[in-house]
Symmetry: C2
Subunit: 342 residues, 2 copies
DNA sequence: TTGAAAGCGCTAACAA
DNA sequence: TTGTTAGCGCTTTCAA
């Protein structure tokens, strides 16, 4: 069933059918009605490939989303969607699969749907990036960690300062009287601009500023064999820390998922939270407030970040604005999982 | 940058470029190398729209996924993907947005990508369904609840029997000596084949078979104002049950998320779990084993269900097999959140 | 092994 | 207000 069939059925030209479908005012009401009725009756659906191929340009913003299985992104998609809506853009969501490279998908989708611009949510990218440079449309990186040093980025970014926020979280632990603070850290060998590395750096700086000597025995890196930043990994990593007989009164977990698993491990070891061990998470995921004890954590302002991403992209598209890097402050949400030491 | 440009650059015809790109053996090695080099150098990416438009058929299975924000589906996508891979299909993932109807998206995507078949994961559908009937390719419903009575379905389905599994879960509670069992139920007014209704029915039957009279005072329906089956809703619903002064020693929550929120509400009310109140969840989500106490829950065999869905679709595509409805058994995973009453 | 050309289904420019 | 037509970028004949 193509536009041709509908035209034949209605006894009109295909141009008229096209106009009727797209609500072009230059079709008589009677004709349009007839055509739409036939469309409905025969379940005609336009072929998007043909449409995209023909159209010189769309008015669509694409969202390239790496991490469909990552709960951190839960609920963000609809924020992007609504924001695009508000600014008058269509919205196209594309979930990047694990084995696909963001850059390649970006190129493909851009051509296929004639995107006006692109938001890249999550995933790993490196710069300079020749592929992305040749995209031809502006794009913004949201919660994508990239090296910040050296040359200016060719795109806008929206993120938080992981080092600073970790510093703040661990400082809070220090201020609550903790001196033996362990960290459930990212994988060893993570790149120097990965969040794990940044969060560990913040941890070290906080210790230093509070006159606490860094003790390698209190650092436990997450397992290479388990999914990164997952609950099982948090559980396993804490088990190892405990098994080593490390002596600590508080833990900084580099993600809420890690903290969740760690709490379980702590309890299995007979340590109460927060009475015997305080814990602090990172990300501010939705479930942390329903945990018992509710988890003190670094809340990333995901809504604002999503909104700002669309805004920046719109600036670039409509006003040709130059790239900017926006860094948001996270909020240390103080809840029940940290105890003040006497 | 189109195939034409590459052809011009390399001094060959566009047909040759097409063949080179698609690894057609009828291109001399030298020519292919030259072309691929130019492709790389100029960042040429074929336009999928043009490709899809031209190709008579693809070898692609599409996965229409409703519920990108639903943690229940976490990790399922890659199972579908691998299964398709194994059977020699390409895989196309499409996340259906809240405001889109599955049927419409199905029609569109099918035409656009010339799908061989479709798997519909989650979402709500009703039958008979004229739109889906005119799809023209086989499709299978995975964890989609549809009315089962009356005419045969035009497609295969893979699901579990919510009534039976709920019956089993609540029976277990009864067998542990509980007589006052509350339920955190689906929304009032849910359709008669919705999971909420089914799970409530299983609850009632279990009570009945164990000689316990059904007490409406022990049923608390989830809030209409909060997201369905969410943690806040579980929390809120339990709060209301508690506020009513209901008298119970165990609760059946119709989802793990509800159970999670409910545990928090219970504790805030000073009731220990499971000592003062047992609780049982439903779904078998990944985090339930890391909760404290770990949650006894009805584990849906999501991997098997995903695998079977692809298998059934393959049967329909390759062997023209008639639709079948496969119902899996769930597993009641007994953990720490239920206590035996003396 | 290659190039030329038809045509996938649609939109938009043009003509009527 | 309508019909006709060119052509979007590609794959795939067909002919060389």
């Amino acid at each position: 069933m193509t536009i041709k069939d509908i035209a034949r059925i209605c006894g009109v030209g295909i141009g008229t059918v096209s106009r009727a479908i797209n609500n072009d005012p230059r079709v008589s009401e009677k004709t349009q009605e007839k055509i739409l009725r036939a469309v409905k009756e025969h379940h005609y659906v336009p072929n998007n490939s043909a449409r995209n191929l023909k159209m010189a340009e769309s008015n669509t913003i694409g969202l390239l989303f790496s991490g469909i299985d990552n709960p951190f992104f839960q609920g963000m998609i609809s924020i992007f969607e609504n924001a695009c809506d508000e600014l008058g853009y269509s919205f196209f969501l594309y979930a990047v699969r694990e084995n696909d490279r963001v850059e390649n998908v970006a190129m493909e989708v851009c051509k296929e749907r004639r995107l006006k611009g692109l938001i890249i949510l999550g995933g790993q990218l490196s710069f300079p990036n020749r592929r992305l440079d040749s995209l031809g449309v502006p794009y913004v990186l949201c919660t994508v960690t990239v090296p910040r040093d050296g040359d200016a980025l060719p795109c806008s970014t929206v993120s938080i300062d992981d080092e600073k926020e970790s510093f703040r979280a661990v400082s809070y632990l220090c201020e609550q009287g903790h001196r033996r603070i362990a960290i459930l850290a990212g994988r060893t060998g993570e790149s120097s601009y990965g969040v794990g590395t940044l969060r560990l750096a913040g941890y070290r700086r906080a210790l230093e500023e509070h006159g606490i000597e860094f003790d390698p025995a209190l650092v436990e890196y997450m397992s290479e064999d388990l999914p990164e930043y997952s609950m099982p990994n948090g559980y396993d990593t804490m088990k190892r820390l405990l098994a080593r007989g490390a002596d600590f009164t508080a833990v900084f977990a580099v993600s809420d998922t890690m903290a969740f698993g760690a709490v379980r491990a702590l309890r299995e070891a007979g340590r109460r939270v927060p009475e015997d061990c305080s814990i602090i998470g990172y990300d501010g995921q939705y479930y942390t407030e329903f945990m018992t004890p509710s988890l003190t954590t670094v809340v990333q302002p995901v809504s604002e970040m999503a909104l700002k991403s669309v805004e920046l992209l719109d600036d670039a598209i409509r006003r040709n604005a130059p790239p900017v890097c926006v860094t948001y402050d996270a909020e240390l949400r103080i809840r029940e999982s940290v105890m003040r030491l006497p």
